[in-house]
Amino acid sequence: MAEIIVVTSGKGGVGKTTSSAAIGTGLALRGHKTVLVDFDVGLRNLDLIMGCERRVVFDLVNVINEEATLNQALIRDKRTEGLYILPASQTRDKDALTQDGVERVLKELSETFDYIVCDSPAGIERGAHLALYFADTAIVVTNPEVSSVRDSDRILGVLQSKSRKAEDGGQVREHLLLTRYNPSRVQAGEMLSVEDVREILAIPLLGVIPESEAVLKASNQGQPVVLDDASDAGQAYLDAIGRFLGEEREHRFLEVQRKGLFSRVFGRKG
C-alpha cells in the first residue's frame, strides 16, 4: 500500500508545485518508487517544473474517463530512477474530476508505488478538496506572510473535517513546510520567524526552505531543485525528505549566512 501525500496550501504561489517536484524526486532518490500526480486541472504546471511538458500524451482526466490506461498516461522521469509523473489535463475544467474516479486511480497507483505525491491546486474548491480527500499525510506549504499563514490554517481546518481520514474518525498526518524564508529579513523584524508561524499553526515542522535563486534557476530548466544539491534550497528539501523518512536532521539556513564586513570586524551582534 502506498502512502498518499498531499502538498497543499490554500493560497496560490507559495511553492506547492516546486515543493511537490522536490519532495517526489527526493523520495525517488532515496529509493522509493514515487508518482507525482498533478491535480491542477486546467492550470497544470508540474509537467513544466519536471521538464516533461513535451512528453505529455494522456492525463489524469483521460484515465478517470477511461480514455487511456494508467500506463499510457504515466510519464517516466528520465533523470531519476523510480519516479513517474501523472499530468493534469490542460483543456478541461476542474469538474472533470470525480471522487470515484480519483479514488480508482489512486487505488491503482497504490498497487505499484510506495508514495503518491498529490500536487494540489490553490483554493479550497473541488480540485483542492479532491487532492487532499484521500491523503494519509499532508504537507502544508506556507510562506512567512500573513495571507499564506491564514490560508494554511484554513486548509488545516478542511483536512481536519473534510478528508476521508477525518470522516472515518481518524486524522491526516500534518507537516508544515515553510518556504521562501529570508533569515536576514526575519532578523530585521520584517518577516515572521519560523517560531512565529509554528506557534500560530501549531503543527510539526518538516522543513524550512530559504528564499533562493536556485529555485527559479531550476524551474527555468525544468529540473527539480533537489537535483541541484549544491544549492541551499536543494539541501533544505533533502533535509526535509530525510525528516519525512524519520531521520533526525538539524534545521539549517535559519540564520543569516553571510557575514558583512561590519559584523566580521565588530563580532556577532545580539
Binding site: 499563514v149 490554517d153 520584517e190 515572521l192
Partner: protein, 85 residues
Amino acid sequence: MGILSYFRSKKQTSASVAKERLQVLVAYERNQRTQPEYLPQMQQEILAVIARYVDVSVDDVQINLDEDCSILELNVTLPEHRGQD
C-alpha cells in the same frame, strides 16, 4: 544597553504586528469553524428580534456555544442612553 533597549522597545517591528494580527484572526476563524452550522443564522434571527425593541448592530451581539452545545451564552451590548424606556 538599557538605553538601547528602551529605544528598541518603543518601535514594534512589522513582523510582530503580523504575528499579533494573525493570532487574533486565526483564533477567531478556528472558533467559527467549530461552531455548528446553524449558529450564524440563529444569530441573525435573535438579532432581528432584539432589534425590534432596541437599536443594536451585529457587533453588539455575541453568541457562544460551549463544546458540547449544552450552554448557550448570549451577550448583547445595549446602547447607553436608550434601551429601558
